[in-house]
């Protein structure tokens, strides 16, 4: 666990895809092995500028995700470091066997950037939601899985990915988020960031929900309940130590994720607890359903993935009045 007190939550919000593409351009300028592979659209992957700057290191395979991941593995075979970027729903679902065999099993050094993950494409319907990607990617041996929370963490995760030798899945949302990390924060693989300390209850979350968890902690504090908030951006490897410490030091754990809880962050935390230190838990996320249609904001509220929902889950877990 690394201690990372949040910055004063800014009113201004950011699309983390900006930080990802800017960092990728910088990395490509410094390292000639860096290249990008996309499926059709440069705009949804924010790689228009990358294409202009490095046309010879930019590959558009067309609308063909299986091909895209396989081509990534081949580029890695040839000594390049490919960033394979596409909407998370198609990148994972369509190319899952390539992810399993060409990345996980073969250990090719390919970086998958799953864009607009979770329910970012709310109105487009369940085909375009990527709520399964956490469960699918997390179970693939050798695949590192990271969900950054804000622009700074996105930038750090991108830089880290180039130093990391091995396949990775980075989940990058388009849902606007405030900054939650201070300039001094340093992303560390396999380490959760302690965003808020407390010993009544622990909230474990990541991605676009970190800001909401911090709001929930504030609301709980007004009731005299002190919540520990962990940003578990590193889903795999997971920070088991931080989870077990939380289980020992607080009265229970609430997980909150923009994904199916089965197999996702909730599932991952539960696996650690069940084996080493059974603890009371509440899991927020999607139960065993496809989401209806509606904007991302609407759907997050619909599934109680907001400050109020997290507060209620914590109160319920503590047996306190709502």
């Amino acid at each position: 666990m690394v201690v990372a007190p949040p910055v004063e939550t800014s009113a201004k919000t950011y699309d983390c895809r900006e930080a990802y593409s800017r960092t990728l351009e910088e990395m490509a300028a410094q390292d000639k092995r860096v290249c990008a592979v996309i499926n059709d659209s440069v705009s949804s992957t924010k790689l228009k500028k990358f294409k202009e700057l490095f046309p010879e290191r930019f590959v558009n395979v067309g609308i063909a995700e299986q091909n895209m991941v396989g081509v990534g593995a081949g580029l890695a075979n040839g000594g390049m470091v490919p960033y394979v970027c596409g909407a998370s729903c198609f990148l994972t679902a369509r190319a899952m066997e390539q992810v399993k065999v060409d990345l996980g099993y073969s250990k090719w050094n390919v970086k998958l950037c799953g864009m607009s993950s979770g329910m970012a494409y709310g109105q487009l319907g369940a085909t375009h939601h990527s709520i399964e990607d956490m469960a699918w990617t997390r179970i693939i041996p050798n695949l590192t899985v990271i969900v950054p929370a804000d622009p700074l963490e996105t930038e750090q995760v991108m830089r880290y990915s180039l130093r990391h030798d091995g396949p990775m899945f980075l989940r990058i949302s388009r849902v606007p988020v405030p900054k939650v990390h201070d300039r001094g924060y340093q992303f560390t693989l396999g380490r959760a960031a302690l965003m808020n300390d407390g010993d009544d209850v622990t909230i474990i979350t990541n991605g676009i929900l970190v800001a909401r968890a911090l709001q929930a902690a504030k609301l709980l504090e007004e009731r005299g309940i002190f919540a520990r908030v962990l940003n578990m951006s590193s889903i795999k490897p997971l920070d088991s130590d931080a989870i077990l410490k939380a289980a020992r030091e607080t009265r229970g754990i609430v997980t909150a994720e923009e994904a199916l809880t089965a197999g996702g962050l909730g599932g991952a935390v539960a696996e650690v607890l069940a084996l080493h230190h059974p603890a009371r838990m509440r899991m927020l996320g999607l139960p065993d359903v496809f989401a209806p249609t509606g904007s991302a904001e609407f759907l997050l509220d619909h599934f109680h993935l907001n400050a109020e929902g997290i507060v209620n889950a914590a109160l319920d877990l503590l047996g306190a009045k709502k």
Binding site: D40, S41, V42, S43, S44, N60, V61, G62, I63, A64, Q66, N67, C89, F90, A93, R94, Y121, Q123, L124, G125, A126, T127, H128, P292, T293, G294, S295, F298
Partner: protein, 278 residues
């Protein structure tokens, strides 16, 4: 075809166009370019009497199956289904609203008349092959139509399905390609080349015909001559214009998912010779 029926179809297609654009304006999301390029094909199939479907009995077993593989063009598809009577035209106003049955991409569990949940490209053709195989297995006479985008054909699943269709001699299957030559980010031939597309399909064992996908007479004529060759699946390459009928949207990649302003909606209606519905 009689002059009057052709006129009627043209009017219906343009109504579908403006309805689709109004839906996209309403939700501020949608796929205008592909809605407009496919409107004539959809209109001929559903309102020109080609598809044997019954809105009163959407799950009638003997029905012809139409699969909208380019599910992102739900605007034109929903507007056509409503015009054919599968649900009230009024309902189009709920496009992509919270909890609406009119998802951004069609959902068969929510909307009668939808055969398959599409949206991820490259799903329609294999499903169509299965539905055509089922007709053969059961000795039934329904036909299966699938409409794909052209960019969509970059997905390998289409070609896997094509080989199956040829192998099983599925002459009850017709693949229609909306050949508007534009995909999401650019022209298809600047992205990943598809040409020579007709000979690709022919080499996969299909009877192929190229038509003007906006000429109702040509479309109706080819639909009436199916199968083009007994014992072979058919591929109709409908040469179309993305954004057809609306000058500012025609042949412009940016209008793939362009959203019209109110002013643009009014201008489009004027060019199409129809009223803005709401």
């Amino acid at each position: 075809m009689a002059e009057s029926s052709l006129k009627h179809l043209q009017q219906a297609a343009n109504l579908t166009r403006i309805r689709a654009m109004s839906m996209t304006h309403h939700s501020q999301l949608g796929h205008t370019g592909g809605d407009l390029s496919s409107a004539d094909i959809l209109t001929c199939l559903y309102l020109g009497g080609i598809l044997a479907v019954d809105p009163e009995k959407p799950y009638w077993e003997q029905r012809d199956r139409f699969i909208m593989s380019k599910g992102h063009c739900s605007g034109a598809f929903y507007a056509t289904l409503a015009a054919r009577g599968f649900f009230p035209v009024e309902q189009l106003k709920t496009f992509m609203d919270p909890l609406s049955m009119l998802n951004g991409h069609p959902d068969r569990n929510k909307l009668p008349g939808v055969e398959a949940n599409t949206g991820p490209l490259g799903h329609g053709a294999p499903i169509a092959v299965g539905a055509a195989l089922a007709a053969k297995m059961r000795g039934e006479h329904w036909r299966v139509f699938v409409l794909t985008g052209d960019g969509e054909l970059q997905e390998g699943s289409n070609w896997e399905a094509a080989m199956t269709a040829h192998h099983y001699k599925l002459d009850n299957l017709t693949v229609i390609v909306d050949r508007n030559r534009i995909q999401q980010g650019d022209f298809t031939e600047n992205t990943v080349q598809l040409d020579p597309l007709p000979s690709k399909w022919a080499s996969f064992g299909f009877a192929v015909r190229e038509v003007d996908g906006h000429n109702h007479e040509e479309l109706m004529q080819v639909f009436h001559s199916l199968p083009l060759e007994p014992g072979k699946p058919t591929c109709i390459i409908a040469n179309t214009i993305k954004g057809k009928g609306v000058s500012f949207a025609e042949n412009k990649p940016a209008w793939h998912h362009g959203v019209p302003t109110r002013e643009q909606l009014l201008l489009a209606a004027e060019e199409l010779g129809v009223e803005v519905p709401w």
